[in-house]
């Protein structure tokens, strides 16, 4: 299957005027996205991450046709976003976490019905989708509430419903879980996973919450200073960056540092010891060796925190 999103050498610069003192201004060219190659296949769930100002939103805006690329080629669902924006709109859903697409003063239901008209969704399809999403997202009781009276979590679920009523092939989510509580986040992730599994909807999401990525995305694209610094699976990212895992051993009694080949003790705190070992090595022989030579009360393995891995990527 052809790629659903295909970017080649995508470039986006902004002219920024800076004051240079004495009332004079100097024009400066800021490169928000530089030479970005990205290919997303149908049905993928891609996490797009990077620090603030890395170019995440600029990329999403180019993919959705809001911004015209300065250079490079871009195809989304076979269309050129900036030239075929309205046609593309029917094939994609867009959710900006911090900006609602709903009509603030109107009940949720009115927003949905208007969208059904704007997208020309057949009545039966609309009814079916609306009842499906309101049930899955637990919005049934909020349908007649004006949007401004909804909680942040309810509003976000409303926004996601709004973006999905026309059954888009691709759903772009910009910070979908920002400001949500743990329960709401969990429910939302659950929903997005099932959407992808059951309908094959391609998902591309930007987020600051790496748990979103861990819960949803098989593939991670990391961008920094407008350039792609990583593109691959989450597991590979972990192996690449962290390189070491940690075995935490609780001994029955206080003992000197454990001596086992293939592991080094990092820390000793009473009966608890932290042993690091190479990320690609199996933990099983190590655990067996420790258990054979010491009296062990408890064992646990710490994976390298994804945050640490990514922080290392940014630092490069």
């Amino acid at each position: 299957m052809d790629a659903l999103i295909e970017a080649r050498g995508l470039e986006r610069t902004f002219d920024v005027r800076r004051r240079t003192g004495g009332g004079r201004r100097r024009a400066e060219v800021v490169r928000a996205v530089h030479d970005l190659d990205l290919s997303v296949a149908s049905g993928e769930m891609v996490g797009y991450i990077g620090p603030n100002g890395a170019g995440k939103s600029t990329t999403i805006k180019m993919f959705t046709g809001i911004l015209v690329p300065t250079d490079g080629s871009l195809r989304v669902a076979g269309l050129e976003p900036s030239r075929q924006r309205r046609e593309l709109a029917r094939r994609i859903g867009v959710v900006f976490g911090q900006r609602s697409a709903l009509w603030w003063d109107l009940p949720l239901r009115d927003s949905f019905e208007l969208l059904a008209k704007l997208y020309r969704i057949p009545e039966a399809t609309f009814r079916a989708n609306l009842s499906r999403f309101t049930e899955l997202l637990d919005l049934g009781e909020q349908l007649d509430t004006p949007v401004r009276q909804l909680s942040l979590g309810q509003r976000m679920r409303g926004d996601i419903t709004a973006a999905l009523l026309h059954e888009p092939e691709i759903l772009f989510l910009d910070e979908p879980t920002i400001g949500l509580d743990v329960v709401s986040k969990g429910r939302l992730r659950e929903f997005l996973r099932s959407l992808n599994a059951e309908h094959g909807t391609t998902l591309m999401l930007t987020t600051h919450d790496l748990q979103d990525i861990e819960a949803l995305c098989d593939r991670v694209v990391v961008i920094d200073h407008g350039t792609k610094v990583y593109d691959g699976s989450l597991a590979a990212l972990r192996a690449r960056g962290g390189s070491h895992r940690t075995l935490v051993v609780d001994l029955v009694d206080v003992a000197p540092a454990i001596e086992i080949p293939g592991a080094t003790v990092q820390r000793v705190e009473g009966p608890r010891q932290w042993l690091t070992f190479p990320g690609e090595a199996s933990a099983a022989p190590l655990v067996a060796a420790v258990a054979a030579n010491y009296e062990v009360a408890d064992l646990s393995i710490l994976e390298p925190a994804i945050e640490d891995v990514i922080r290392e990527l940014y630092a490069r």
Partner: protein, 276 residues
């Protein structure tokens, strides 16, 4: 499933129907509170009514203003009031694009399969100006009794109603486009739209000839009511400008509309290529 929807509805979009869909939603929303809806309309009728009462009082001390009597001025006043009232009702929201840019609402609109101008104009549609239109129509109807109607005058009057709406539409859209560059310039646009409306409530003869000439050839506000009303009243041009200008309102409207749509396209392109 997604293929079906996308495939079926893609090429044919009907801007007018989309406009009515969006506007209808806002009217229904306003009807949730019928009392406040009606009071809004009555209120605006009273306020704009007082506007004309002011003119009337002025005429209790003078007989003519710039060589025009009260009925003649009422004709000018009513014609321009209808034009700006209808235009303001249809596309009043376009003034707010600066706000839409700042709040990101414009980005939302750009991801919808409906022309941006349709969405912007219909958003927050309100019938608040209905009072203004009614009042202007009443004044116009009263003044029309003093016009010696002929078939060609009826035709000019009908064309005037359409052209004046289109001219104000063009001015609203055109000057609002400046907000794509500087998002805080709504007041600047108002100077030309509402300011233009104020000028058209009086006969041009009270202004210098230079102003009339520029409001003919630069900013075609004189075509809103001045030239067609001269024809309705059977008057020669007080400034000695050619008589055929009295039939040129539709041309001025077409030119204004064309320029406004061009400005709009340029503005949107500027926005989508700066994201500011």
């Amino acid at each position: 499933m997604a293929e079906q929807i996308a495939g079926r509805a893609a090429p044919l979009t009907d801007p007018v129907r989309h406009y009515l869909d969006i506007a209808g939603l806002w009217v229904r929303a306003a009807w949730v509170y019928p009392a406040s809806f009606l009071m809004l309309i009555v209120g605006s009728m009273v306020i704009s009514g007082l506007d004309f009462v002011g003119l009337w009082i002025m005429f209790s001390t003078i007989d003519t203003l710039g060589g025009f009597g009260l009925a003649e001025i009422a004709l000018l006043y009513g014609a321009s009031g209808i034009g700006i009232g209808v235009a303001d009702t249809l596309i009043g929201s376009v003034e707010r694009i600066g706000v839409y840019v700042r709040t990101g609402r414009l980005d939302q609109m750009l991801t919808k399969p409906v022309p941006l101008l349709v969405q912007v104009c219909a958003d927050q549609f309100t019938l608040r100006r209905l009072g203004r239109i009614t009042q202007a129509s009443v004044v116009f109807a009263w003044a029309a009794a003093y016009v010696d109607w002929t078939p060609s005058r009826v035709a000019v009057a009908v064309l005037m109603a359409i052209s004046s709406t289109v001219i104000f539409f063009g001015l609203f859209v055109g000057f609002s486009c400046i907000q794509f560059w500087t998002t805080d310039s709504a007041e600047f646009a108002n100077a030309f739209t509402y300011g233009g409306n104020t000028i058209t409530q009086y006969p041009m003869t009270i202004f210098p000839r230079e102003l009339t000439v520029s409001l003919t050839f630069v900013l075609p506000i004189a075509f809103v009511n001045w030239y067609p009303c001269l024809y309705l009243l059977g008057r020669d041009d007080p400034f000695g400008l050619p008589g055929w200008l009295q039939f040129c309102s539709p041309v001025a409207a077409a030119v204004t509309l064309g320029a406004a749509l061009l400005a709009w396209r340029t503005g949107v392109r500027h926005y989508t290529s700066t994201g500011s």
